[in-house]
Amino acid sequence: MKKSVFLGALTVAGLTAGAAAAATLDDVKARGTLNCGVTTGLVGFAAPDNNGNWDGFDVGVCRAVAAAVLGDPQAVEFVPTTGKTRFTALASGEIDMLARNTTWTFSRDVDLKFEFVGVNYYDGQGFMVPKELGVSSAKDLDGATVCIQTGTTTELNLADYFRKNSMNYEPVPIETNAEAQQQYLAGACDVYTTDASGLAATRAAFENPSEHVLLPEIVSKEPLGPLVRHGDNEWGDVVRWTLNALIAAEELGVTSANIADMASAAGDSPEINRLLGTEGNLGEMLGLEADWAVKAISAGGNYGELFEKNIGETTPIGLARGLNAQWTDGGLLYSPPFR
């Protein structure tokens, strides 16, 4: 049995944990639940609602994968992770996949031995300041005290941005978004910086969101996406194509409303037929049921529906599609063909 690297370290520390075997797909099926790593709470992306049910954009990806593999979108065990604990949790096998607005970077992909299966949100790092400071550009932030979430790409981008513009700042490293929010509101820092989507989500949870502004500068590329452990390609394929199925479904006009109809019999469009399993054997190739994509899309809707429901313009978070529109609408979302 192959155990993963961090498990070795954990055992050294005297802990015992289940082994992270290479065949994650079999493990998930045998266990009957999917262990999905999410944030400790970022409204819109992953946060428990009033009844304790996890809800959000990243959560939607977890539920879609659970639905595709197990047939039940509720069969997910959500594991809240911080910026610091997320990679250890994934590498040790504590979670099967990580959907925690994690930036796809070279070193994480190559050096940390993870596999990013795609991008579910194209983001960039932004700054939020209280309106009363009267700051209109990030270039005015010389000498400011900045709250950052530690263990993220954010603190590296921040250091680079301020150095490039010959400005000084004082970093206040914070472990979770909730603590950062508290520090920022207490005035212990002038600026809060993280991914622009995260800032919008954080601001939406404020008592008076209108008293805070997001500065126009976006200082980095942050392609956020779900990731799995390196070396288990079958499992990687399952997560990758589940995400692609959600994106392709929007492009092809398959929604949670019309999917039951469309999946009942083969229609005119061969690609929709292949996606929904009424034609071909794509599901079998993945080691799943023929209607895997139907279940995944039914779980929370296609990509566009997930976006609108959780973080779209009608929600308090109010994010525009922007880069996250389909390629046909001038965005970057582009699913490889289902063939």
Binding site: G8, F87, G143, L156, Y169, P171, Q183, C189
Partner: protein, 404 residues
């Protein structure tokens, strides 16, 4: 006829390993040692195997690469282009700084509270036991967070100092208490300032020399020289004279509100204050109990004997009780100092950049070298703890009862 013979020297038999009390303990110790080595070997082998399976290796090359992140409190030169090793050194120095400060203040808190717990005054006695029980029985992490939260919530933000009619103002125009820390004037060491500093150091030595002389004179002739005001005079007068002779080489840089924060002066960050205060007040409660135990361990007869010689209560405490109590107090005090040093690793809770936050936090996270970083961390804490123990043991040997 009976012949007394020594029992025949038995030859060694394997069963004696279990049945003979002379060997039994060695047998079990040997077995335990083998089991321990076996477990460690298994875990180490497992680690190597898993690392290989995951295609990873143990490498410390990352220490030379640029860290890429900034740190808010740096005692040595550090920028985001400095190496991970420099970041680790910054963290080490921050750990040592807060540990040293907290050890010093915890000892002061502890000794005062410990002595006062034995006070004859009911109110003071009860207040001190209230302090000890409240702080000893709540985890130190909670205290750190409570103190930090109170600081950030109660003290004004720097922006409150702004405007014509500010909500907050600086004390004496030079010290600002904000929720980001305390800003105090910083001395600027101009040319010739070293002369003043050296004079001051010589004065300190002079004070000790004078007190020694006074004591010697007292023992030799019975004449009691005053020590209070001459000590003060020796301490300050030469330095002040030299300060003016050299043309006032030391000036003060006052903090001023500029931009978002105060600029200039010396900033003592809120995380440092919260961590320092929490650690010292928490560990002070433990030290108070050690001190109390040490004092109670000195027989009451000593107090009575000293009193019958005409010593006043304060002198009895300082000259008779505490020197004897120290022998009991020092060993547990060592472990309290170790506790402070190790508890300082909770610094990340308030964003203080100690070694656990830099090497064990951000560096670990950005490089993914978890095993390497944690091994280094363990090595550091081990070395520093052994170092503190060694120093304190030297002191313990110096004060312990000398049997002749």
């Amino acid at each position: 006829m009976t012949i007394m013979t020594d029992p025949q020297q038995e030859s060694f038999r394997p069963s004696m390993l279990l049945n003979d009390t002379r060997y039994r303990s060695y047998t079990f110790q040997f077995i335990a040692l083998m089991v321990l080595i076996g477990i460690i070997a298994y875990l180490g082998y497992n680690l190597v195997l898993n690392l290989r399976a995951a295609g990873l290796n143990i490498s410390y090359e990352f220490l030379g690469e640029p860290a890429g992140y900034d740190i808010n409190q740096t005692l040595v030169e550090y920028t985001s282009r400095s190496s991970h090793l420099t970041a680790a050194i910054v963290g080490i120095l921050n750990t040592l700084l807060v540990a040293f400060l907290a050890c010093a203040t915890a000892t002061i808190f502890g000794v005062i509270a410990g002595v006062l717990r034995l006070s004859n005054n009911w109110l003071i006695r009860k207040l001190m036991s209230g302090y000890v029980e409240a702080f000893r029985n709540v985890p130190v992490l909670i205290w750190i967070i409570i103190i930090f939260t109170i600081m950030t919530a109660v003290l004004p933000a720097p922006s409150a100092f702004r405007g014509d009619d500010p909500d907050a103002s600086m004390i004496l125009g030079s010290v600002a208490f904000t929720n980001r820390g305390v800003y105090v004037p910083m001395p600027i060491w101009g040319e010739g300032s070293m002369v003043v500093v050296v004079t001051f150091i010589l004065s300190v030595i002079g004070v000790f020399a004078y007190r020694r002389y006074a004591k010697k004179l007292l023992y030799a002739t019975g004449r009691l020289l005053p020590t209070g005001w001459p000590s003060l005079a020796i301490l300050f007068v030469p330095s002040i004279l030299m300060f003016f002779v050299m043309g006032q080489p030391i000036s003060l840089d006052f903090p001023e509100l500029g931009g978002f924060n105060f600029r200039g002066g010396l900033q003592i960050g809120a995380p440092l204050i919260a961590l320092w205060f929490a650690l010292s007040i928490y560990t002070g409660a433990f030290i108070a109990e050690n001190v109390r135990a040490g004092i109670l361990a000195v027989s009451k007869g000593q107090t009575e004997a000293a009193a019958s010689l005409g010593l006043r209560p304060r002198r009895i405490m300082n000259l008779v009780i505490l020197p004897q109590a120290l022998r009991v107090i020092i060993p547990p005090l060592i472990s309290q100092y170790l506790n402070i040093t190790k508890n300082s690793s909770l610094a990340i809770a308030v964003g203080y950049a100690d070694i656990t936050a830099t090497l064990g936090g951000i560096t670990l996270n950005q490089t993914g070298r978890a095993i390497e970083c944690v091994l280094l961390l363990m090595l550091f804490y081990l070395l520093i703890s052994l170092g503190i123990s060694a120093v304190m043991n030297v002191y313990n040997n110096a004060v312990r009862l000398k049997e002749r």
